[in-house]
């Protein structure tokens, strides 16, 4: 079956612009996660959505970052007023609720110039 998909695969933006990154989880997976992978910080948890519960936003680095999940499926990660330190690969993963095994998408490489 189809895996986790993310779009765009690459995004180049100017400092100060807003960007939206999209994630389509595996069908039937009720938990969805966002991570960031950067050279200096490795892989960091950002946010996760679990079923109908309030999302865990504890990993978001600043209030410029936000995410939503519509209809329990597709998720959008929004970064406002991008900064150069936001440059990274943003990874999305999904899983069955309360099961730790997560399946990752290919990521979106964000470059802020």
């Amino acid at each position: 079956g189809a895996g986790v998909s993310q779009s765009p695969s690459n995004k180049v933006t100017e400092k100060g612009k807003d960007v939206e990154l999209r994630c389509d989880p595996i069908s039937g997976h009720t938990a969805l996660y966002w991570y960031r992978q950067s050279l200096g910080q490795g892989l960091e948890f950002l946010i996760y959505f679990q079923g109908n519960s309030a999302p865990d936003k504890s990993g978001l680095p600043s209030d410029r970052f936000s995410a939503e999940r519509t209809g329990g499926s597709v998720s959008t990660l929004t970064i406002q007023r991008t900064q150069q330190e936001d440059s990274a690969v943003y990874l999305c993963a999904s899983s069955l609720l309360y099961v730790g095994e997560q399946y990752f998408g290919p990521g979106t490489r964000l470059t802020v110039t």
Partner: protein
């Protein structure tokens, strides 16, 4: 709080020789542990997972890992390296309370495996 330490940032082996990638963890609860692999410009792929069943876990592509609670270790091994094993490997912990995943995976810093012909 949970944390993961991968003891080697780079490991280099010759094709056909054994692979050992070391991982130590700390966890407040009874953790689930995973190894993921990331090939260049590819997404993360699950190699294997430990979730409190058998302590010796077999994964894909001939890899296996042994959970040792007394040593808080979860080292990844393979008897014979193949050129296609060259990639970056991540040891990952997920705190569990009574088997319920918290969902927030904590990743080690990664080990880059190089395989020489």
């Amino acid at each position: 709080a949970q944390s993961v330490t991968q003891l080697d940032s780079h490991v280099s082996v010759s094709e056909g020789t054994p692979v050992l990638l070391r991982c130590n963890y700390s966890s407040s609860y009874s953790p689930s542990l995973f190894w993921y692999v990331q090939h260049p410009n590819k997404g993360l792929q699950l190699l294997l997972k430990y979730t409190s069943a058998a302590t010796l876990v077999k994964g894909i592509n001939g890899f296996e890992a042994e959970f040792k609670k007394s040593e808080t270790s979860f080292h990844l091994t393979k008897p014979s390296a193949h050129m296609s094993d060259a990639a970056e490997y991540f040891c990952v912990v997920d705190d569990n309370a009574g088997g319920t995943s918290y969902g927030k995976l904590t990743f080690g810093q990664g080990t880059i495996l190089t395989v020489h012909p």
